[in-house]
Amino acid sequence: MRRAWLWFGATVMVAFSVAPMATLVVASFRPGGAPTGAVSDLTFENYVRVFETRPFGSVLLRSFVVSSLTTVLAITIAASAAFALAKLPVRGARALLAFSLGISMFPPIATVSPLFLVIRALGWRDTVQGLVVPYTTFALPLAIWILATFFRDLPDDLYRAARVDGCTPWEAFVRVILPVAGPGVSTTAILVFIFAWNELLFALTFTSAPEARTVPAAIALFAAEHRDPWGEIAAASTLSTMPLLLAALVFQRRIVSGLTAGAVKG
Protein backbone atom coordinates (compact mmCIF):
# COMPACT_ATOMS: atom_id res chain seq x y z
CA MET A 1 0.00 0.00 0.00
CA ARG A 2 2.62 2.48 1.10
CA ARG A 3 4.85 1.54 -1.81
CA ALA A 4 2.04 2.03 -4.33
CA TRP A 5 1.44 5.55 -3.04
CA LEU A 6 5.12 6.30 -3.22
CA TRP A 7 5.30 5.25 -6.85
CA PHE A 8 2.18 7.19 -7.74
CA GLY A 9 3.54 10.30 -6.06
CA ALA A 10 6.91 9.93 -7.72
CA THR A 11 5.28 9.53 -11.13
CA VAL A 12 3.15 12.66 -10.76
CA MET A 13 6.15 14.60 -9.56
CA VAL A 14 8.26 13.43 -12.49
CA ALA A 15 5.48 14.12 -15.02
CA PHE A 16 4.75 17.61 -13.80
CA SER A 17 8.07 18.96 -12.65
CA VAL A 18 11.11 16.88 -13.52
CA ALA A 19 10.00 15.98 -17.07
CA PRO A 20 9.20 19.55 -18.16
CA MET A 21 12.53 20.68 -16.73
CA ALA A 22 14.37 17.99 -18.64
CA THR A 23 12.52 18.71 -21.88
CA LEU A 24 13.48 22.33 -21.53
CA VAL A 25 17.16 21.64 -21.09
CA VAL A 26 17.18 19.29 -24.09
CA ALA A 27 15.25 21.78 -26.23
CA SER A 28 17.73 24.53 -25.42
CA PHE A 29 20.44 22.57 -27.25
CA ARG A 30 18.41 21.97 -30.44
CA PRO A 31 18.00 24.22 -33.45
CA GLY A 32 14.73 26.08 -33.12
CA GLY A 33 14.13 24.37 -29.81
CA ALA A 34 12.45 21.28 -31.31
CA PRO A 35 11.85 18.99 -28.36
CA THR A 36 12.85 15.79 -30.21
CA GLY A 37 15.48 14.88 -32.78
CA ALA A 38 18.82 13.17 -33.33
CA VAL A 39 21.63 13.54 -30.86
CA SER A 40 23.89 14.93 -33.58
CA ASP A 41 21.68 17.96 -33.90
CA LEU A 42 22.88 19.39 -30.59
CA THR A 43 23.93 23.01 -30.86
CA PHE A 44 24.82 26.04 -28.80
CA GLU A 45 23.14 28.30 -31.34
CA ASN A 46 20.26 29.21 -29.02
CA TYR A 47 22.61 30.27 -26.24
CA VAL A 48 24.68 32.38 -28.61
CA ARG A 49 21.57 34.08 -29.99
CA VAL A 50 20.25 34.89 -26.53
CA PHE A 51 23.30 37.03 -25.89
CA GLU A 52 23.90 38.34 -29.41
CA THR A 53 20.45 39.45 -30.46
CA ARG A 54 19.18 40.44 -27.01
CA PRO A 55 20.61 42.24 -23.94
CA PHE A 56 20.49 39.00 -21.96
CA GLY A 57 23.81 39.69 -20.25
CA SER A 58 22.50 42.86 -18.69
CA VAL A 59 19.22 41.11 -17.89
CA LEU A 60 21.07 38.41 -15.96
CA LEU A 61 23.12 41.06 -14.17
CA ARG A 62 20.00 43.05 -13.32
CA SER A 63 18.28 39.92 -11.97
CA PHE A 64 21.31 39.14 -9.87
CA VAL A 65 21.58 42.68 -8.48
CA VAL A 66 17.85 42.89 -7.70
CA SER A 67 17.72 39.46 -6.06
CA SER A 68 20.88 39.97 -4.01
CA LEU A 69 19.86 43.40 -2.76
CA THR A 70 16.41 42.10 -1.89
CA THR A 71 17.96 39.22 0.01
CA VAL A 72 20.39 41.39 1.96
CA LEU A 73 17.75 43.97 2.79
CA ALA A 74 15.03 41.46 3.68
CA ILE A 75 17.32 39.29 5.82
CA THR A 76 18.76 42.25 7.71
CA ILE A 77 15.34 43.60 8.57
CA ALA A 78 13.72 40.20 9.05
CA ALA A 79 16.47 38.87 11.32
CA SER A 80 16.24 41.85 13.67
CA ALA A 81 12.44 41.76 13.66
CA ALA A 82 12.33 37.98 14.13
CA PHE A 83 14.80 38.23 16.99
CA ALA A 84 12.64 40.84 18.68
CA LEU A 85 9.53 38.74 18.15
CA ALA A 86 11.13 35.51 19.29
CA LYS A 87 13.24 36.62 22.23
CA LEU A 88 12.06 39.97 23.52
CA PRO A 89 8.71 40.43 25.22
CA VAL A 90 7.07 42.56 22.49
CA ARG A 91 3.45 43.46 23.10
CA GLY A 92 1.08 42.39 20.32
CA ALA A 93 3.83 40.51 18.52
CA ARG A 94 1.53 37.72 17.44
CA ALA A 95 -1.10 40.05 16.00
CA LEU A 96 1.55 42.10 14.19
CA LEU A 97 3.13 39.04 12.61
CA ALA A 98 -0.24 37.60 11.61
CA PHE A 99 -1.34 40.93 10.11
CA SER A 100 1.80 41.33 8.03
CA LEU A 101 1.58 37.72 6.89
CA GLY A 102 -2.01 38.41 5.90
CA ILE A 103 -1.02 41.48 3.87
CA SER A 104 1.62 39.54 1.96
CA MET A 105 -0.98 36.96 1.00
CA PHE A 106 -3.25 39.21 -1.02
CA PRO A 107 -3.23 38.47 -4.73
CA PRO A 108 -0.28 40.25 -6.33
CA ILE A 109 -2.44 40.81 -9.39
CA ALA A 110 -4.75 42.93 -7.24
CA THR A 111 -2.02 45.17 -5.88
CA VAL A 112 0.08 45.46 -9.00
CA SER A 113 -1.89 48.31 -10.60
CA PRO A 114 -2.06 50.66 -7.59
CA LEU A 115 1.54 49.77 -6.76
CA PHE A 116 2.41 50.77 -10.34
CA LEU A 117 1.02 54.24 -9.61
CA VAL A 118 3.23 54.50 -6.52
CA ILE A 119 6.33 53.37 -8.43
CA ARG A 120 5.58 55.77 -11.29
CA ALA A 121 4.98 58.65 -8.87
CA LEU A 122 8.35 57.99 -7.24
CA GLY A 123 10.01 57.87 -10.68
CA TRP A 124 11.23 54.32 -9.92
CA ARG A 125 10.24 52.65 -13.20
CA ASP A 126 13.14 50.69 -14.71
CA THR A 127 15.20 51.23 -11.55
CA VAL A 128 16.67 48.63 -9.24
CA GLN A 129 14.92 50.06 -6.17
CA GLY A 130 11.60 49.94 -8.06
CA LEU A 131 11.81 46.15 -7.75
CA VAL A 132 13.90 45.74 -4.60
CA VAL A 133 11.58 47.73 -2.34
CA PRO A 134 8.32 45.96 -3.30
CA TYR A 135 10.08 42.57 -3.29
CA THR A 136 11.46 43.20 0.17
CA THR A 137 8.05 44.30 1.42
CA PHE A 138 6.39 41.16 0.14
CA ALA A 139 9.19 38.79 1.18
CA LEU A 140 9.52 40.27 4.65
CA PRO A 141 6.58 38.67 6.44
CA LEU A 142 7.43 35.12 5.42
CA ALA A 143 11.13 35.71 6.10
CA ILE A 144 10.33 37.05 9.56
CA TRP A 145 8.09 34.09 10.21
CA ILE A 146 10.64 31.47 9.20
CA LEU A 147 13.49 33.19 11.03
CA ALA A 148 11.40 33.68 14.15
CA THR A 149 10.66 29.95 14.10
CA PHE A 150 14.38 29.24 13.98
CA PHE A 151 15.24 31.81 16.64
CA ARG A 152 12.44 30.59 18.87
CA ASP A 153 13.98 27.14 18.90
CA LEU A 154 17.15 28.58 20.41
CA PRO A 155 16.98 28.31 24.17
CA ASP A 156 16.17 31.55 25.99
CA ASP A 157 19.03 30.86 28.33
CA LEU A 158 21.49 31.38 25.48
CA TYR A 159 20.35 34.98 25.13
CA ARG A 160 20.22 35.45 28.89
CA ALA A 161 23.70 34.02 29.30
CA ALA A 162 25.03 36.49 26.73
CA ARG A 163 23.33 39.34 28.58
CA VAL A 164 24.76 38.27 31.92
CA ASP A 165 28.16 37.92 30.30
CA GLY A 166 27.98 41.61 29.55
CA CYS A 167 26.40 41.87 26.09
CA THR A 168 23.97 44.58 25.07
CA PRO A 169 20.88 43.11 23.34
CA TRP A 170 22.46 43.99 19.99
CA GLU A 171 25.78 42.33 20.89
CA ALA A 172 23.91 39.25 22.09
CA PHE A 173 22.09 39.14 18.75
CA VAL A 174 25.18 39.58 16.59
CA ARG A 175 27.66 37.53 18.63
CA VAL A 176 25.46 34.67 19.80
CA ILE A 177 21.97 34.40 18.29
CA LEU A 178 22.93 35.06 14.67
CA PRO A 179 25.91 32.67 14.47
CA VAL A 180 24.00 29.93 16.26
CA ALA A 181 21.01 30.34 13.95
CA GLY A 182 23.33 30.30 10.91
CA PRO A 183 21.66 27.46 8.98
CA GLY A 184 18.23 28.99 9.48
CA VAL A 185 19.43 32.35 8.24
CA SER A 186 21.03 30.93 5.10
CA THR A 187 17.94 28.87 4.34
CA THR A 188 15.74 31.93 4.61
CA ALA A 189 18.15 33.96 2.51
CA ILE A 190 18.01 31.36 -0.24
CA LEU A 191 14.20 31.31 -0.17
CA VAL A 192 14.08 35.09 -0.49
CA PHE A 193 16.64 35.05 -3.30
CA ILE A 194 14.61 32.47 -5.19
CA PHE A 195 11.40 34.44 -4.72
CA ALA A 196 13.02 37.60 -6.11
CA TRP A 197 14.76 35.70 -8.91
CA ASN A 198 11.53 34.04 -10.08
CA GLU A 199 9.08 36.92 -9.61
CA LEU A 200 7.35 37.76 -12.88
CA LEU A 201 4.36 40.04 -12.41
CA PHE A 202 5.97 43.07 -10.77
CA ALA A 203 9.04 42.73 -12.96
CA LEU A 204 6.85 42.82 -16.07
CA THR A 205 4.80 45.80 -14.88
CA PHE A 206 7.45 48.04 -13.35
CA THR A 207 10.02 47.77 -16.14
CA SER A 208 9.80 48.74 -19.77
CA ALA A 209 13.38 49.18 -20.97
CA PRO A 210 14.72 45.81 -22.26
CA GLU A 211 17.91 46.22 -20.19
CA ALA A 212 16.02 46.88 -16.97
CA ARG A 213 14.10 43.60 -17.09
CA THR A 214 14.79 40.65 -14.87
CA VAL A 215 15.14 37.15 -16.32
CA PRO A 216 11.52 35.95 -15.97
CA ALA A 217 10.19 39.20 -17.46
CA ALA A 218 12.63 38.99 -20.33
CA ILE A 219 11.70 35.37 -21.07
CA ALA A 220 7.99 36.21 -20.91
CA LEU A 221 8.50 38.94 -23.48
CA PHE A 222 10.45 36.69 -25.89
CA ALA A 223 7.10 35.11 -26.66
CA ALA A 224 5.58 38.45 -27.61
CA GLU A 225 7.99 38.88 -30.53
CA HIS A 226 7.30 38.33 -34.22
CA ARG A 227 9.30 35.14 -34.93
CA ASP A 228 9.15 31.86 -33.02
CA PRO A 229 11.67 32.10 -30.12
CA TRP A 230 11.16 28.63 -28.59
CA GLY A 231 14.82 27.64 -28.69
CA GLU A 232 15.90 30.90 -27.14
CA ILE A 233 13.25 30.66 -24.44
CA ALA A 234 14.60 27.24 -23.58
CA ALA A 235 18.17 28.50 -23.51
CA ALA A 236 17.31 31.53 -21.41
CA SER A 237 15.26 29.43 -19.00
CA THR A 238 18.07 26.97 -18.60
CA LEU A 239 20.51 29.81 -18.02
CA SER A 240 18.22 31.37 -15.47
CA THR A 241 18.17 28.21 -13.38
CA MET A 242 21.97 28.03 -13.41
CA PRO A 243 22.62 30.41 -10.52
CA LEU A 244 20.08 28.56 -8.40
CA LEU A 245 21.61 25.22 -9.31
CA LEU A 246 25.09 26.52 -8.57
CA ALA A 247 24.00 27.99 -5.26
CA ALA A 248 22.27 24.73 -4.44
CA LEU A 249 25.42 22.75 -5.20
CA VAL A 250 27.71 25.08 -3.26
CA PHE A 251 25.50 25.36 -0.21
CA GLN A 252 24.08 21.86 -0.59
CA ARG A 253 24.78 20.65 2.92
CA ARG A 254 23.69 23.87 4.56
CA ILE A 255 20.46 24.03 2.56
CA VAL A 256 19.56 20.42 3.22
CA SER A 257 20.27 20.72 6.92
CA GLY A 258 18.56 24.10 7.13
CA LEU A 259 15.48 23.07 5.22
CA THR A 260 15.12 19.73 6.86
CA ALA A 261 16.18 20.79 10.35
CA GLY A 262 13.41 19.83 12.66
CA ALA A 263 11.38 18.37 9.82
CA VAL A 264 12.90 14.95 9.37
CA LYS A 265 13.45 12.16 11.83
CA GLY A 266 17.09 11.48 12.68
Partner: protein
Protein backbone atom coordinates in the same frame (compact mmCIF):
# COMPACT_ATOMS: atom_id res chain seq x y z
CA UNK B 1 34.08 44.79 51.61
CA UNK B 2 31.29 47.27 52.23
CA UNK B 3 28.98 47.12 55.19
CA UNK B 4 25.86 46.74 52.99
CA UNK B 5 24.69 43.21 52.26
CA UNK B 6 25.70 41.87 48.85
CA UNK B 7 22.07 41.41 47.87
CA UNK B 8 19.06 42.95 49.50
CA UNK B 9 15.43 42.47 48.51
CA UNK B 10 12.99 45.02 49.97
CA UNK B 11 9.34 43.95 49.84
CA UNK B 12 9.71 42.55 46.34
CA UNK B 13 6.45 41.75 44.57
CA UNK B 14 6.26 40.34 41.09
CA UNK B 15 3.14 39.66 39.06
CA UNK B 16 2.63 39.20 35.36
CA UNK B 17 -0.13 40.98 33.45
CA UNK B 18 -3.48 39.47 34.45
CA UNK B 19 -2.18 36.55 36.54
CA UNK B 20 -1.80 36.45 40.32
CA UNK B 21 1.39 37.43 42.11
CA UNK B 22 4.37 35.13 41.61
CA UNK B 23 6.31 36.74 44.44
CA UNK B 24 4.52 38.34 47.36
CA UNK B 25 6.60 40.65 49.51
CA UNK B 26 10.03 39.07 49.68
CA UNK B 27 12.40 40.62 52.23
CA UNK B 28 15.82 39.06 52.17
CA UNK B 29 19.38 40.07 52.88
CA UNK B 30 22.29 38.03 51.63
CA UNK B 31 25.66 38.90 53.09
CA UNK B 32 28.94 39.19 51.28
CA UNK B 33 30.44 35.71 50.88
CA UNK B 34 27.35 33.76 51.93
CA UNK B 35 26.10 30.69 50.10
CA UNK B 36 22.32 30.92 50.18
CA UNK B 37 20.08 28.33 48.55
CA UNK B 38 16.57 29.24 47.55
CA UNK B 39 14.52 26.10 47.57
CA UNK B 40 10.89 25.21 46.96
CA UNK B 41 8.60 23.11 44.80
CA UNK B 42 8.10 24.05 41.15
CA UNK B 43 6.01 27.16 40.76
CA UNK B 44 7.01 28.64 44.12
CA UNK B 45 8.66 31.62 42.38
CA UNK B 46 12.29 30.72 43.00
CA UNK B 47 13.37 31.13 39.38
CA UNK B 48 11.54 34.44 39.15
CA UNK B 49 13.42 35.59 42.23
CA UNK B 50 16.71 34.78 40.52
CA UNK B 51 15.56 36.57 37.34
CA UNK B 52 14.89 39.67 39.39
CA UNK B 53 18.34 39.56 40.96
CA UNK B 54 19.98 38.91 37.59
CA UNK B 55 18.03 41.73 35.95
CA UNK B 56 16.06 39.79 33.32
CA UNK B 57 12.89 41.16 34.85
CA UNK B 58 12.07 44.01 37.18
CA UNK B 59 9.96 43.84 40.35
CA UNK B 60 6.34 45.02 40.19
CA UNK B 61 6.81 46.55 43.63
CA UNK B 62 9.75 46.79 46.01
CA UNK B 63 13.44 47.07 45.24
CA UNK B 64 16.47 44.95 44.52
CA UNK B 65 19.73 46.30 45.92
CA UNK B 66 23.20 45.04 45.10
CA UNK B 67 25.91 46.20 47.50
CA UNK B 68 23.46 48.77 48.83
CA UNK B 69 22.56 50.33 45.49
CA UNK B 70 19.05 50.04 43.98
CA UNK B 71 19.43 48.27 40.63
CA UNK B 72 15.80 47.86 39.55
CA UNK B 73 16.39 49.66 36.25
CA UNK B 74 19.82 48.29 35.52
CA UNK B 75 20.41 45.74 32.80
CA UNK B 76 22.11 42.41 33.54
CA UNK B 77 25.22 43.83 31.90
CA UNK B 78 25.37 46.70 34.39
CA UNK B 79 24.80 44.45 37.39
CA UNK B 80 28.04 42.57 36.73
CA UNK B 81 26.85 39.28 38.18
CA UNK B 82 27.70 35.85 36.90
CA UNK B 83 25.15 33.11 36.40
CA UNK B 84 25.14 29.37 35.79
CA UNK B 85 22.09 28.08 33.94
CA UNK B 86 20.20 24.83 34.25
CA UNK B 87 20.64 24.22 30.52
CA UNK B 88 24.31 25.28 30.79
CA UNK B 89 23.61 27.76 27.93
CA UNK B 90 27.04 27.24 26.41
CA UNK B 91 27.63 28.98 23.10
CA UNK B 92 27.57 26.07 20.66
CA UNK B 93 29.54 27.88 17.95
CA UNK B 94 32.49 28.57 20.24
CA UNK B 95 34.98 26.09 21.66
CA UNK B 96 35.57 25.65 25.37
CA UNK B 97 38.31 28.27 25.49
CA UNK B 98 36.20 30.86 23.70
CA UNK B 99 33.16 30.02 25.81
CA UNK B 100 35.10 30.71 28.97
CA UNK B 101 36.75 33.75 27.40
CA UNK B 102 33.46 35.24 26.18
CA UNK B 103 32.71 37.52 29.16
CA UNK B 104 36.31 38.77 29.12
CA UNK B 105 36.18 39.45 25.37
CA UNK B 106 32.94 41.40 25.80
CA UNK B 107 34.65 43.36 28.56
CA UNK B 108 37.45 44.04 26.03
CA UNK B 109 40.28 42.73 28.20
CA UNK B 110 43.71 42.50 26.53
CA UNK B 111 44.27 39.16 24.77
CA UNK B 112 47.16 38.17 27.02
CA UNK B 113 45.12 38.61 30.17
CA UNK B 114 42.17 36.78 28.64
CA UNK B 115 44.45 33.85 27.88
CA UNK B 116 45.99 33.82 31.34
CA UNK B 117 42.68 34.01 33.16
CA UNK B 118 40.91 31.47 30.98
CA UNK B 119 43.75 29.01 31.41
CA UNK B 120 43.84 29.49 35.14
CA UNK B 121 40.06 28.95 35.41
CA UNK B 122 40.11 25.99 33.05
CA UNK B 123 42.88 24.40 35.10
CA UNK B 124 40.98 24.94 38.33
CA UNK B 125 37.97 23.12 36.88
CA UNK B 126 39.96 20.37 35.20
CA UNK B 127 39.20 21.56 31.67
CA UNK B 128 42.73 22.24 30.47
CA UNK B 129 42.76 19.29 28.09
CA UNK B 130 39.40 20.16 26.53
CA UNK B 131 39.98 23.78 25.55
CA UNK B 132 39.62 23.22 21.81
CA UNK B 133 36.50 21.05 21.99
CA UNK B 134 33.07 22.31 21.03
CA UNK B 135 30.26 22.01 23.61
CA UNK B 136 28.58 19.33 21.47
CA UNK B 137 31.63 17.10 21.97
CA UNK B 138 31.47 17.27 25.76
CA UNK B 139 29.66 15.09 28.28
CA UNK B 140 27.04 16.57 30.59
CA UNK B 141 29.47 16.90 33.48
CA UNK B 142 32.08 18.58 31.30
CA UNK B 143 29.51 21.06 29.99
CA UNK B 144 28.57 21.86 33.55
CA UNK B 145 32.20 22.59 34.35
CA UNK B 146 32.53 24.88 31.34
CA UNK B 147 29.42 26.75 32.46
CA UNK B 148 30.94 27.13 35.92
CA UNK B 149 34.25 28.27 34.45
CA UNK B 150 32.53 30.87 32.27
CA UNK B 151 30.71 32.23 35.31
CA UNK B 152 33.77 32.31 37.55
CA UNK B 153 36.39 33.58 35.07
CA UNK B 154 35.28 37.16 35.72
CA UNK B 155 35.89 36.71 39.46
CA UNK B 156 32.36 37.94 40.12
CA UNK B 157 31.48 39.15 43.59
CA UNK B 158 28.04 37.55 43.15
CA UNK B 159 27.31 34.34 41.27
CA UNK B 160 23.80 33.02 40.64
CA UNK B 161 23.01 29.34 40.10
CA UNK B 162 19.72 28.32 38.52
CA UNK B 163 19.30 24.61 39.28
CA UNK B 164 22.74 23.98 37.80
CA UNK B 165 22.85 20.26 38.59
CA UNK B 166 19.36 19.15 37.67
CA UNK B 167 20.36 17.89 34.21
CA UNK B 168 23.12 15.67 35.57
CA UNK B 169 22.64 12.10 36.70
CA UNK B 170 22.50 11.33 40.41
CA UNK B 171 26.13 10.27 40.71
CA UNK B 172 27.57 13.33 39.05
CA UNK B 173 25.16 15.56 40.92
CA UNK B 174 26.55 14.48 44.27
CA UNK B 175 30.10 14.96 43.01
CA UNK B 176 29.54 18.42 41.49
CA UNK B 177 27.69 19.48 44.62
CA UNK B 178 30.81 18.92 46.68
CA UNK B 179 32.89 20.80 44.11
CA UNK B 180 30.61 23.82 44.14
CA UNK B 181 30.80 23.92 47.95
CA UNK B 182 34.58 23.76 47.66
CA UNK B 183 34.70 26.53 45.02
CA UNK B 184 32.63 28.74 47.25
CA UNK B 185 35.03 28.22 50.14
CA UNK B 186 38.01 29.05 47.96
CA UNK B 187 36.61 32.07 46.11
CA UNK B 188 34.71 33.76 48.92
CA UNK B 189 32.10 35.12 46.45
CA UNK B 190 28.43 35.41 47.30
CA UNK B 191 26.59 32.42 45.82
CA UNK B 192 22.82 32.36 45.37
CA UNK B 193 21.76 28.88 44.47
CA UNK B 194 18.24 27.99 43.33
CA UNK B 195 17.16 24.36 43.44
CA UNK B 196 14.08 22.23 43.90
CA UNK B 197 16.21 19.50 45.42
CA UNK B 198 16.16 19.69 49.21
CA UNK B 199 19.26 17.51 49.52
CA UNK B 200 21.32 20.03 47.54
CA UNK B 201 19.99 22.79 49.75
CA UNK B 202 20.80 20.83 52.93
CA UNK B 203 24.35 19.95 51.95
CA UNK B 204 25.51 23.14 50.27
CA UNK B 205 24.13 26.07 52.13
CA UNK B 206 25.22 28.50 54.77
CA UNK B 207 21.57 29.45 54.82
CA UNK B 208 18.44 28.03 53.24
CA UNK B 209 15.47 30.13 52.11
CA UNK B 210 12.36 27.99 51.69
CA UNK B 211 9.84 29.56 49.33
CA UNK B 212 6.19 28.56 49.31
CA UNK B 213 3.78 30.10 46.80
CA UNK B 214 5.80 33.28 46.37
CA UNK B 215 6.53 33.99 50.02
CA UNK B 216 9.39 33.02 52.34
CA UNK B 217 8.20 30.13 54.51
CA UNK B 218 11.40 29.98 56.54
CA UNK B 219 15.01 31.10 56.28
CA UNK B 220 17.97 29.95 58.32
CA UNK B 221 20.90 27.55 58.56
CA UNK B 222 20.14 24.06 57.21
CA UNK B 223 20.19 22.18 60.51
CA UNK B 224 18.08 24.83 62.24
CA UNK B 225 15.39 24.52 59.57
CA UNK B 226 15.69 20.75 59.63
CA UNK B 227 15.36 20.46 63.38
CA UNK B 228 12.86 23.24 63.95
CA UNK B 229 10.65 23.68 60.87
CA UNK B 230 8.20 26.51 61.36
CA UNK B 231 5.40 24.93 59.33
CA UNK B 232 4.21 21.60 58.02
CA UNK B 233 5.20 22.79 54.54
CA UNK B 234 8.84 23.22 55.53
CA UNK B 235 8.75 20.07 57.66
CA UNK B 236 7.61 17.91 54.78
CA UNK B 237 9.79 19.64 52.20
CA UNK B 238 13.19 19.10 53.85
CA UNK B 239 14.52 15.62 54.43
CA UNK B 240 14.06 12.50 52.36
CA UNK B 241 11.77 10.76 53.01
CA UNK B 242 9.94 13.81 54.35
CA UNK B 243 8.63 14.19 57.88
CA UNK B 244 5.57 12.12 58.79
CA UNK B 245 2.69 14.47 59.59
CA UNK B 246 -0.20 12.67 61.29
CA UNK B 247 -2.98 12.99 63.82
CA UNK B 248 -1.68 12.47 67.41
CA UNK B 249 -3.76 9.27 67.70
CA UNK B 250 -1.64 7.58 65.06
CA UNK B 251 1.34 7.83 67.39
CA UNK B 252 -0.68 6.70 70.38
CA UNK B 253 -0.76 10.17 71.86
CA UNK B 254 -3.61 11.89 73.66
CA UNK B 255 -4.92 14.93 71.85
CA UNK B 256 -4.63 18.21 73.76
CA UNK B 257 -7.27 20.93 73.74
CA UNK B 258 -6.05 22.44 70.45
CA UNK B 259 -6.14 20.53 67.21
CA UNK B 260 -2.58 19.55 66.39
CA UNK B 261 -0.74 17.67 63.72
CA UNK B 262 2.21 15.73 65.01
CA UNK B 263 5.38 15.37 62.97
CA UNK B 264 8.10 12.78 63.31
CA UNK B 265 11.02 12.29 60.95
CA UNK B 266 11.32 8.80 59.45
CA UNK B 267 14.83 8.41 60.88
CA UNK B 268 13.41 9.04 64.36
CA UNK B 269 10.80 6.30 63.94
CA UNK B 270 12.46 2.91 64.46
CA UNK B 271 10.71 -0.07 62.91
CA UNK B 272 11.33 -3.52 64.42
CA UNK B 273 9.77 -6.95 64.03
CA UNK B 274 9.55 -7.53 67.79
CA UNK B 275 7.67 -5.29 70.21
CA UNK B 276 9.65 -3.39 72.84
CA UNK B 277 8.49 -1.34 75.83
CA UNK B 278 6.43 1.62 74.59
CA UNK B 279 6.41 0.48 70.98
CA UNK B 280 3.29 0.69 68.81
CA UNK B 281 2.08 -2.04 66.44
CA UNK B 282 1.45 -1.11 62.78
CA UNK B 283 0.69 -2.85 59.47
CA UNK B 284 3.32 -2.80 56.73
CA UNK B 285 2.17 -1.04 53.54
CA UNK B 286 5.33 -1.17 51.49
CA UNK B 287 9.01 -1.90 52.17
CA UNK B 288 11.77 -0.01 50.41
CA UNK B 289 15.36 -1.15 50.90
CA UNK B 290 17.92 1.53 50.06
CA UNK B 291 21.01 -0.53 50.83
CA UNK B 292 22.32 1.02 54.02
CA UNK B 293 18.87 0.89 55.62
CA UNK B 294 15.25 0.09 54.83
CA UNK B 295 12.36 2.52 54.71
CA UNK B 296 9.13 0.92 55.84
CA UNK B 297 5.80 2.59 55.14
CA UNK B 298 3.24 1.45 57.72
CA UNK B 299 -0.44 2.05 58.24
CA UNK B 300 -1.77 2.92 61.68
CA UNK B 301 -5.08 4.51 62.61
CA UNK B 302 -5.65 5.14 58.87
CA UNK B 303 -2.48 7.22 58.68
CA UNK B 304 0.65 6.26 56.74
CA UNK B 305 3.97 6.54 58.52
CA UNK B 306 7.44 5.99 57.12
CA UNK B 307 9.96 4.58 59.53
CA UNK B 308 13.54 3.34 59.43
CA UNK B 309 14.56 -0.28 59.81
CA UNK B 310 17.93 -1.98 59.49
CA UNK B 311 19.44 -2.82 56.11
CA UNK B 312 18.13 -6.36 55.55
CA UNK B 313 14.74 -5.88 57.14
CA UNK B 314 12.51 -8.68 55.97
CA UNK B 315 8.80 -7.90 55.96
CA UNK B 316 5.99 -8.17 53.46
CA UNK B 317 3.00 -5.97 52.86
CA UNK B 318 0.38 -6.72 55.58
CA UNK B 319 2.83 -7.93 58.24
CA UNK B 320 2.65 -6.44 61.70
CA UNK B 321 5.71 -4.48 62.86
CA UNK B 322 6.45 -2.24 65.82
CA UNK B 323 7.27 1.46 65.91
CA UNK B 324 9.34 3.22 68.54
CA UNK B 325 10.22 6.88 68.90
CA UNK B 326 11.46 9.30 71.49
CA UNK B 327 8.98 11.92 72.63
CA UNK B 328 11.53 14.73 72.33
CA UNK B 329 11.88 14.03 68.59
CA UNK B 330 8.26 14.97 67.93
CA UNK B 331 7.14 18.24 66.33
CA UNK B 332 3.76 19.85 66.87
CA UNK B 333 1.86 21.97 64.34
CA UNK B 334 -1.50 23.70 64.36
CA UNK B 335 -3.81 21.50 62.32
CA UNK B 336 -5.63 24.43 60.69
CA UNK B 337 -2.76 26.79 59.79
CA UNK B 338 0.13 24.32 59.64
CA UNK B 339 2.24 26.63 61.80
CA UNK B 340 4.50 25.25 64.54
CA UNK B 341 2.69 25.65 67.86
CA UNK B 342 5.16 24.80 70.58
CA UNK B 343 8.17 22.89 71.67
CA UNK B 344 8.33 19.14 70.97
CA UNK B 345 5.43 17.28 72.57
CA UNK B 346 7.00 16.20 75.81
CA UNK B 347 3.79 16.91 77.68
CA UNK B 348 1.89 14.24 75.78
CA UNK B 349 2.57 10.90 77.37
CA UNK B 350 2.60 7.91 75.01
CA UNK B 351 -0.48 5.81 75.69
CA UNK B 352 -0.97 2.08 75.21
CA UNK B 353 -2.58 1.10 71.98
Amino acid sequence: MTSSPAIQLDGVHKSYGGGGAVLRGIDLEIDEGELVTIVGPSGCGKSTLLSLIAGFERPTRGHVRLHGEIVDDKSPRERRLAMVFQSYALYPHLDVFENIAFPLRIAKLPAAEVKARVEETAARLGLSALQRRRPAQLSGGQRQRVALARALVRRPSICLFDEPLSNLDAKLRVQMRAEIAKLHQELGSTFVYVTHDQSEAMTLSDRIVVLDAGAIAQAGPPMEIYERPLSTFVASFLGSPGMNLVAPEALGLEGTSVSVTVGVRPEDLRVTREPSPGSLPARVYVVEPVGSETWVTCERASCRLVGRAEARFDARSGDTVHLRFEANRLHRFDRATGARTGEPLESLAPAGD
